[in-house]
Amino acid sequence: MIKAPVNKIIPFSSVDGPGNRLALFLQGCSFDCLYCHNPETINKCINCGCCVNVCKNNALSIENYKIKFYEVNCIQCGECIRACQNNSDPRVRYLSVDDILKEIKKVQAFISGVTVSGGECTLYIDFLMELGKKIRDLGLTFFIDTNGSVPLWNKKDLIGVIDSAMLDVKAYDRDEHIMLTGTDNDNVLKNLDFLIKSNKLYEVRTVIVPNVLGNRHTVDEVSKIIGKYDGSKYKLIKFRQMGVREDKLNSYTPSMKIMNELRKLAENNGCKDVIIT
């Protein structure tokens, strides 16, 4: 049975799609964003062992050159991820689809569905397909939250099992996107177009980062695309320093004034549902 590296499972989430959702975070990302709030989800562990000794609770050890995590002892203090130089997390577990279904069934009465996020979940297409099918068999909806780096337009089977997707469009300008994430945005914009046309785009997200990004340009262009079609939300997220790696970015949290101006712009371009968080 296929397994995937799981960073975290949040049984109740209010911000990962419609209704209450179980959110599943997979480990590993194709981007390396300057403002990443969960940099510990970017890379897979290389078993260097550097985090073992910082854990004061005997939750980590290294056995046969491999990190071992003893969940019962962990108090979620986060010391290990602060010590990791590799943007990874020693607590990641490889779980099968059935392992995850067990967790879902516990909270099934309370949720509308499941959203798989990351890292970047589309790095695990086969896993997503198997999981998605089983989730939908339970009568729940299946959403993915993606950075758009993996081409989805040639993954018809996956598109068949997802109810909808949340897509990050971090920057519209290609060079700016490379500066921010280390990768161009060709696939992202193609995915944007594809998801809209397949009627599978729940929400587009853009983080507003003053000083660093051409926020206005991105919001303007993206909202023009969303605005042409009906139904997708546009979520504008205020940059917040919390959790972001130090020295990566020289920015600040934008004021509501800036956010409201961007909202106006998006609305004028035809977006009906613009959310600021």
């Binding site: 949040i10 109740f12 419609p18 209450n20 009465a109």
Partner: protein, 495 residues
């Protein structure tokens, strides 16, 4: 200065509050109840507590008049005819409310107001004006947060207008419950949730559960008390499980000596209060509510309250570490259930000839402002709450034992306003797990739910600065904020 003079000279009290306090002082000069020594001892130790009901019961604690009947027939005593317009309808109700007593002298139940008013709606705009005026009148004259309205389970225009008016008014009174059944229109519940995230009401009542125990004719009164319409509760006395555990020190003595003895004393104490009310005070012989069939003694019960289960369990298990305490450990949950089952059996075995089916109903009491470090009913203590899913799963199994009321209050981050369906899913899940009653508010709203009732933070501030406030429950709210730490509830976002 004695208490009476102190009351007279207390400038924090409004005139009305003084009159009520003086009446209580007068009542408490009497010693008319026959209470045996053992019971008196338990009362003095704070193990049995009559919740300020007074020494000489002369009206039932909770009255749920049959307002539907009143709307159909009017009242001879009040010289009111059956209303013909929405204005007459709200006016008639406002008049009757002032003649429905309770332990605080204010009515604790003002009816399923959407059902009562809906037939009188001709024009939506006019109805909205009338409803807003009606609610504002209630807030400014029935100045007690235990005053409780019901709406639902049907999605009626009147219900929608009530919610809309509450979003606009943001008043703390009346408290409101929305009865939610499997068939209740989802959009109506969402409207209720949106209102709740703005102004901490309505709360949500598991309609199927209440109907299965009390029948269709039930109402939610005071904090969250399920009682029969046309009836009510003679009295509510509560038992302090935390204090019994302290005294007993171990499980054996708790189950075999103290719990049976305290339950026995408390049942007899309740019997005596009911006897005086019915046989001596003359309330049921003289009230026009009885004469006109708006209440009926046959529909009355009495509420056997309890609180402090969490502390009781933690004491009996000597649980210090979080993982061993109530809210986290399986063993603690099992012991808690064993205690409540045991209590239920003992209370059911008692017979009182004046109560419906001869029975008292169990009630998970929400605590009072002076409780220090003892949790309401069967709640996990504030400050120790587990993640929301676990929290609900720990508390839900207790709800079936408490037809006359149990529930908890969950504080949500204001971002939940962007996704009210999130809250709906949680409420539906909680009901599916057997939860009876669910209250919520948003961490940023002025109106907050204290334990069962509502208070404005801004009014607590005023009182703290020595200013008068209109609503008596603000005083209780202030005490609860200080002693029960209710503003420190865990804020639910994603967990």
């Amino acid at each position: 200065m004695n208490n009476i003079e102190k009351t007279i000279k207390d400038n924090i009290l409004t005139y009305e509050q003084k009159v009520l306090a003086l009446a209580k002082e007068a009542e408490n000069t009497l010693q008319v109840l026959n209470i045996d020594n053992k019971t008196t001892e338990y009362i003095n130790e704070g193990i049995i507590c009559s919740l300020f009901e007074g020494n000489a019961p002369y009206r039932p604690r909770y009255i749920l008049p049959d307002y539907q009947k009143f709307m159909e027939k009017g009242s001879e005593f009040l010289k009111l005819d059956k209303p013909k317009t929405i204005w007459e309808a709200v006016n008639n109700l406002l008049i009757l409310y002032k003649h429905v007593p309770s332990i605080t002298s204010f009515p604790v139940y003002i009816g399923n107001i959407d059902e009562l008013l809906n037939p009188y709606i001709d024009d939506e705009k006019e109805a909205y004006e009338a409803i807003k005026m009606f609610l504002k009148h209630i807030d400014r004259t029935l100045t007690d947060s235990f005053c409780h309205a019901n709406i639902g389970p049907r999605d009626l225009m009147a219900g929608r207008l009530i919610l809309k008016a509450e979003r606009e008014l943001q008043d703390s009174i009346p408290n409101i419950s929305m009865k939610v059944s499997k068939d209740t229109n989802e959009d109506f519940i969402i409207d209720g949730i949106k209102t709740s995230l703005i102004t901490a009401k309505p709360s949500f009542a598991n309609h199927e559960m209440f109907v299965s125990e009390l029948g269709q004719q039930y109402g939610i009164a005071s904090c969250y008390n399920g009682l029969l319409i046309g009836g009510g509760s003679y009295t509510l006395v509560r038992l302090n499980l935390a204090a019994i555990a302290q005294k007993a020190k171990n499980k054996d003595k708790f189950f075999n000596i103290y719990l049976p003895e305290v339950v026995d004393c408390m049942c007899r104490f309740m019997d005596e209060r009911i006897r005086y009310l019915i046989e001596e005070s003359g309330y049921f012989q003289s009230s026009f509510l009885v004469r006109e069939g708006l209440i009926d003694q046959d529909k009355y019960t009495a509420m056997f309250g309890m609180f402090g289960l969490a502390e009781c369990v933690n004491t009996l298990l000597d649980a210090k570490d979080k993982k061993d305490r109530f809210g986290y450990s399986q063993e603690a949950s099992e012991l808690g259930l064993k205690i409540i089952e045991n209590l239920e059996q003992k209370v059911s075995a008692h017979h009182n000839k004046y109560c419906k089916d001869g029975k008292f109903l169990l009630h998970a009491q929400v605590g009072i402002d002076s409780d220090h470090g003892i949790s309401p009913g069967c709640r996990v203590p504030i400050g120790e709450e587990p993640a929301l899913f676990e929290h609900i799963c720990v508390e839900a199994p207790f709800h079936k034992y408490f037809p006359s009321g149990i529930g908890n209050v969950y504080a949500f981050e204001s971002t939940a306003k962007n996704n009210p369906k999130y809250v709906l899913d949680i409420i539906r899940g909680a009901f599916a797990k057997g939860m009876r009653y669910f209250s919520l508010y948003s961490s940023d709203s002025d109106v907050v739910r204290i334990t069962g009732y509502l208070v404005k933070r801004s009014e607590i501030e005023k009182l703290t600065h020595g200013e008068q406030v209109l609503r008596d429950t603000v005083v209780l709210g202030k005490g609860a904020v200080e002693n029960l730490k209710v503003l420190d509830r865990k804020i639910r976002k994603n967990d």
